[in-house]
């Protein structure tokens, strides 16, 4: 331990006029996301898009599965990384309409590490792999789209046809899906 300041050292009252937006330092969230992105190791089925390369906090992830039910599809996810990253997970939405038991019509994604199981040691890479896994193994146990989940657990063949129909653009169960083939 040190004696931090001598008694003689006086701090003077300076100008305390606010100078908003003059922050010279990167925030902790900014530092962390830069690191995450530099360490991103994307599988060959994934790609990213940064509308503004200076803004690393907002970007899109594009997944084109090369096997499973969703092969030949193209799905876009938006990532919004908040100021409290990595204490809080990024907000991830699916921007492509998809017939999937774990993704709903509003683009909400049911992936445990995006909500209840998020931990600061996880990275953007963990989420990318989590999302990719959802397309390989849709999980009917924890559904967001209940109808899709019921079809998947009762008849995989029908589920597969439904997925195909939705990806080509068309109605499944009264809901219209836009075409999202690669």
């Amino acid at each position: 331990m040190i004696k931090l300041f001598s008694l003689k050292q006086q701090k003077k009252d300076g100008e305390t006029t606010p100078r908003a937006g003059n922050q010279k330092k990167a925030s902790a969230a900014q530092l962390r996301i830069t690191k995450d992105i530099n360490e991103l190791n994307l599988p060959k089925t994934c790609n990213t898009e940064f509308p503004d390369p200076d803004d690393l906090l907002n970007f899109k992830l594009i997944i084109c599965p090369d096997e499973g039910f969703y092969k030949t599809g193209r799905f876009v996810f938006s990532f919004k990384v908040g100021p409290n990253y990595p204490h809080e997970p990024p907000k991830v939405k699916c921007e492509t309409q998809v017939y999937h038991p774990n993704i709903d019509q509003q683009g909400n994604v049911c992936l445990n590490i995006l909500r209840e199981d998020w931990k600061p040691v996880l990275t953007i890479n963990s989420i990318v792999y989590g999302l990719q896994y959802l397309f390989l193994e849709p999980n009917p146990e924890d559904p967001l789209n209940k109808e899709a989940a019921e079809v998947l657990s009762s008849n995989r063949r029908v589920f597969e046809t439904n997925v195909q129909k939705a990806m080509r653009g068309g109605y499944v169960g009264g809901i219209y899906f836009e075409r999202c083939l690669k």
Binding site: M1, I2, K3, L4, F5, L7, Q9, K11, D13, G14, E15, T16, P18, R19, A20, G21, N22, Q23, K24, K25, A26, S27, A28, Q30, L31, T34, K35, I37, N38, E39, L40, L42, N47, T48, F50, P53, D54, D55, L56, P83, N84, P86, H87, N102, D104, Q106, N108, V109, C110, N112, L114, R115, E116, W118, K119, P120, D142, P143, L144, K146
Partner: protein
């Protein structure tokens, strides 16, 4: 009444016993003296961040311990629900700035005291403001704000040839409470564990699996969370973002949550619960605040006077059932994203000629760095700028033209900092540019 006379008053006798005599718990460097009391009364500048439950207590404690040069900052206004514990506020103050009301109350009540209020966000001020203070003490309810203050104080550190200049250290005392639990810690930026080193200690926000709230709700909270997360964005009833302080918004959530709860036969949805879930309200307990604020003020006193070795460095407190407290030393994280960064200086002869590529090559080729594929970013006028990132093809393509631009063209100036990340190190590196431009005479 002059300050010298004031420190001679009888009311400070108890402090003199501690400050003017040696003792077994003193800091090794402690020299008893009557100057110390004068120092805390006239020169020592303390910043209190937050004028809420903890802030009111801390402020009161500090002024009654002799501190007079205190600044207090808070962006919030007084609300009715604050009055049971934030004792510097009265009913008439509702709607007024917490910082201003608190400062006013103290200045009137305690003679010779000069509290300066700042009705602002902490982010409104820059390093020039924070540099003024000897000690910063935080009573906040937000992790983002803590991280921000922590980052600011770390950024004020000076390094000379990689060695920390200890006079640039501004200690941070941080208190926090949640119901009957609390913690207090002392952070010596650059020397001991900082907020970012121990980020994973903060409890995660309570969240429920999306599929549960969507399909198998069992708790009233599940119903409220569903309306908040799914129904609000879908129906967007007021064409704006959800605001937990807007009674209309809360009422809407309340009604929809009731409907959903009825559907699933779940009892227990109340307006209060809705408020709690929407705003993530953590119940505040006055006694916990008082204990934690007492510890924080004592630490400020110990650091300012050296009359006792400060807390080392993390204390947890729990009075749910009896009283429990435990203190341990949180360790500095070697690769902490914030406090492990030691800036290295690169001298630039002519920023109108030197290109970014030269810096990049230096990082990859020089024996000192030998990086694999460094990513370079910076901050210009508060806006982040990606200089060059190779990890992703789309970013590499967009930022490649920067390599052939000069430092001046990129908007970098003397003293600018470039952040460098690379696979070869878990740490981010900071490069500070030092211009040796011709128009400034070197002494």
């Amino acid at each position: 009444m002059g300050d010298c006379q004031d420190s001679g008053q009888k009311r400070w006798d108890h402090l003199r016993k501690v400050l003017e005599r040696p003792g077994p718990f003193c800091h090794p460097d402690f020299e008893p003296s009557s100057d110390i009391l004068d120092f805390i009364m006239t020169a020592c500048k303390v910043l209190v961040v937050g004028a809420g439950g903890l802030g009111c207590e801390v402020l009161k404690n500090l002024v009654l311990m002799g501190f007079k040069q205190i600044h207090i900052i808070d962006m919030d206004t007084v609300e009715l629900s604050n009055l049971n514990r934030q004792f510097l506020f009265r009913r008439k103050d509702i709607g007024c700035s917490k910082a201003e009301v608190a400062a006013d109350f103290i200045n009137k009540r305690v003679s010779g005291c000069h509290v300066t209020p700042h009705f602002r966000m902490i982010q409104d001020y820059d390093d020039l403001f924070y540099r003024e203070f000897h000690i910063v003490v935080c009573g906040l309810d937000s992790i983002v704000a803590r991280r921000w203050v922590n980052g600011m104080l770390v950024s004020l550190l000076n390094y000379e040839d990689g060695v920390l200049d200890q006079t640039s250290v501004i200690p941070m005392v941080d208190g926090g409470t949640e119901g009957f639990k609390g913690n207090a810690r002392v952070i010596l930026p650059g020397m001991s564990a900082c907020v970012e080193c121990t980020l994973d200690l903060y409890p995660p926000q309570i969240t429920y699996p999306l599929c549960t709230i969507a399909n198998t709700p069992r708790l009233p909270e599940h119903c409220i969370e569903y309306v908040k997360v799914v129904q609000w964005p879908k129906e967007n009833p007021f064409r704006t973002l959800l605001d937990g302080d807007e009674p209309q918004h809360v009422s809407w959530i309340y009604e929809k949550s009731l409907e959903r709860a009825a559907q699933f036969n779940i009892p227990g949805v109340t307006y209060r619960l809705v408020q709690g879930v929407v705003k993530n309200i953590i119940p505040a307990v006055a006694s916990t605040n008082a204990v934690i604020a007492g510890i924080c003020a004592t630490e400020v006193f110990k650091i300012a006077t050296s009359c006792c070795v400060p807390l080392n460095n993390y204390l947890v407190f729990n009075d749910v059932d009896g009283i429990y407290t435990y203190t341990y030393e949180a360790e500095k994280k070697e690769n902490c994203l914030v406090c492990s960064l030691i800036p290295q200086t690169i001298t630039v002869k002519d920023p109108t000629k030197m290109k970014l590529k030269e810096i990049y090559t230096l990082l990859t080729d020089s024996a000192q760095y030998r990086m694999k594929r460094p990513g370079l970013t910076t901050n210009i006028n508060g806006k982040s700028k990606t200089l060059y990132l190779t990890a992703l093809r789309c970013l590499e393509e967009k930022t490649r033209p920067n390599l052939s631009k000069t430092l001046e063209e990129l908007g970098l100036s003397d003293g600018s900092e470039i952040l460098v990340v690379d696979d070869t190190s878990p740490n981010t590196m900071i490069i500070r540019l030092k211009y040796l431009s011709g128009d400034v005479e070197m002494n």
